[in-house]
Every structure is written in C-alpha cells, then in structure tokens.
Symmetry: C2
Subunit: 103 residues, 2 copies
C-alpha cells in the first residue's frame, strides 16, 4: 500500500496479559470493522514478544471517528480490563515513504 | 517510552525471503548501532507473517544521518540483494500519544 502523502498512521504497541480468552475473535472483528470505516487506508500487524499494529487513515477525523465507534469503544474497554498489560498509541502524520520489491 | 511530541518515527515493514542466512546477526548489530546514534529515542520490533520495526528519532536529520551511516548502507544493500522480498519505509511525525498500564 503506497498512498499519496501526507496521510496518517496510528502505531499501536502492546503487551498482553496471560488471559487472552476472546482476544483473537475480537481482534479479527475489529480489523473487519476498521476496514469498513470512512477514511481507512490499510492495516499491518505483527506480534511476538510485543504486538505492533499500524493502521493507516486519510485524516485525523477518520482516526477520531474510529476511536469513538461504539463497538470499538467496547473492545477498548475489554482490552484495558482483560487483555492488555500495557499499550501505547501514537498518532502520526506520514510525511514520506518509499518501498522496495525484489525482482 | 513516552516522549514529548512532536518527534519522528520510521515505520519499516518487510517480508523476508527464504534465505535468512546472516539476517539475525545483522539485525542485532544494526539495532545496537542505531541505539548509539545521535537523536535516537527508541525501537520496537515484531515479526510473524510480516515484520514491523518502528524506530523513534528526535528529528528528520537524525533519521537522515542514520539512513546514510556507512555500516547501515551496507546492511541496506544486503537487505535488498539477499534478505527482503519486499519492504516499505514510512517517515512519520508523531503528533500525539497516550498509553495505558494495568494496575
């Protein structure tokens, strides 16, 4: 996904608790829901010791709307009470980008 | 790591080739070297199907200097010829951040 800059990225880094019951289902549900939001551009995730999810958005308003989406609010609450030991959210403006593809 | 915004983030996403010989050693070496650079603030990495490494920097100049560091240039070249099938680099300004810690 290469888009015309500037656009926005939300870097979500997290460490989970041992109790991950229901987490995968919710993560999958939230990813599907995020993809249907206005202004959504893309999402990338990886997890080993730490989890990193980066979602990409057209505007700060799109990020704000997604943060306040009712189902997402429930997921965030469950994240705080159950799944996450720690998380960190960074709202970023993507100013420049480039990519490489092997031939 | 919570810093006073704004600062900068480099989001590096990648897909590796099957030939990963020498990759871990180089990744470790580059992480150590990055940490010794002026303006370096932090680094976070995770890999499963995709690899995501986010490094944090005080300024765009610090990012530029690191990109052009001679040992890092060699690593980048080896990355393109040997290790990476694909990668994507995004230079971002971190405008806002917040975190959560369970009690």
């Amino acid at each position: 996904m290469t888009k015309i800059t500037p656009y926005y990225a939300v870097i979500f880094t997290s460490i989970q608790n041992e109790n991950t019951e229901g987490y995968s289902e919710m993560a999958e549900k939230m990813e599907t829901l995020a993809k249907s939001q206005d202004g959504f551009l893309g999402i990338e995730s990886a997890r080993d010791q730490i989890g990193i999810t980066v979602s990409y958005w057209e505007s700060l308003d799109a990020i704000k709307n997604w943060k306040q989406h009712s189902e997402h609010l429930l997921a965030q609450q469950k994240g705080r009470t159950q799944w996450y030991n720690w998380y960190h959210v960074r709202i970023c403006k993507v100013e420049r980008e480039y990519d490489f593809k092997s031939t």
